[in-house]
């Protein structure tokens, strides 16, 4: 399959909400404070108010369910959602939990972002399927988002 870089997105997370043990695993919700995105065809900021609803499954895989609103530098709003998974060796996951910076190649962190916008300039986003690789930095994740060609 062929891919083309769409943008790099970083988000800053606020204080996490440890919902705890729910029927499908352990649920932790991370409110999104702000962030930014930059690509050849679009750039701008992440609006406050989104979140990443995470669920640590019984098999050790973390499921992520992110929803944010992006605002481009020319004023368009873009609704973005992305489902993803993250897992890795126990020592690597423990280092991430301690807030350490870890080589993103040491674990698996992939998501499938989707976009909705009403702005004609960015309507191409409504017609794409994309994938992302994540890098969980202490200050918040960075996603490299690529369009599937």
């Amino acid at each position: 399959m062929d891919f083309q870089l769409l943008m790099t997105l970083h988000v800053a997370v606020g204080d996490v909400q440890r919902v705890g043990a729910v029927p499908h695993g352990t649920r932790v919700t991370a409110p999104i404070r702000d962030g930014g995105f930059e690509g050849r065809r679009l750039r701008g900021k992440v609006l406050p108010g989104g979140g990443d609803w995470t669920l640590l499954r019984g098999d050790g895989v973390l499921e992520l369910d992110l929803r944010v609103t992006l605002e481009t530098d020319d004023g368009a709003l873009i609704h973005m959602t992305s489902f993803g998974i993250r897992h890795g060796p126990p020592d690597v996951i423990a280092a991430l939990a301690r807030g350490e910076r870890v080589d993103p190649d040491a674990y698996y962190f992939r998501t499938t972002p989707r976009f909705e916008t009403a702005h004609p300039k960015y309507a191409f986003l409504n017609r794409l399927v994309t994938v992302a690789s994540g890098d969980r930095r202490p200050e918040g994740p960075i996603y490299t988002i690529e369009e599937i060609l």
Binding site: V61, V129, V131
Partner: protein
């Protein structure tokens, strides 16, 4: 991003159910009557009983929402779903991509629970063919 082949999925469908103009678009449901999948690490058949619930949006893009059960040649059941989009008017070529997900209880195939996958599809004479790859 890098990816590697997981399997090729061929689906057989029954006559469609034209639900018609629903609030989000034109809804058409494709019952899945069977099929097959074949890859280096797994192969088997598609069980009858799944469906692909599609909605054609006002902008011409068809959104897909598929659920099927796969049965491997050694008897494991795999729950498979995907969402995707099909844009027949895309240039320079029709665009038909999906993001499959899998769930299985069989340890041999548990790697499927831990990966994200992508699919590129084409409509062949005897039904859709999805080439599915694992995101590395």
């Amino acid at each position: 991003m890098r990816s590697r082949p997981l399997f090729t999925l061929r689906l057989n469908t029954a006559p469609v159910q034209d639900i018609g103009a629903a609030p989000c678009g034109i809804r058409v449901t494709f019952p899945i009557t069977g099929g097959s999948f074949e890859g280096e690490r797994l192969r088997g058949k598609v069980l009858a009983g799944g469906d692909d619930w599609t909605v054609k949006r006002p902008d011409g893009v068809v959104e897909l929402d598929l659920r099927v059960t796969l049965q491997t040649d050694d008897g494991a059941y795999i729950h498979m779903t995907f969402e995707g989009i099909r844009d027949d008017g895309a240039t320079p070529a029709p665009y038909f991509r999906t993001v499959p997900r899998f769930e299985t209880a069989e340890p041999k195939y548990a790697f499927l629970n831990r990966l994200l996958a992508i699919g590129a599809a084409q409509i062949a004479a005897d039904g859709p063919v999805h080439v599915i790859e694992e995101l590395l």
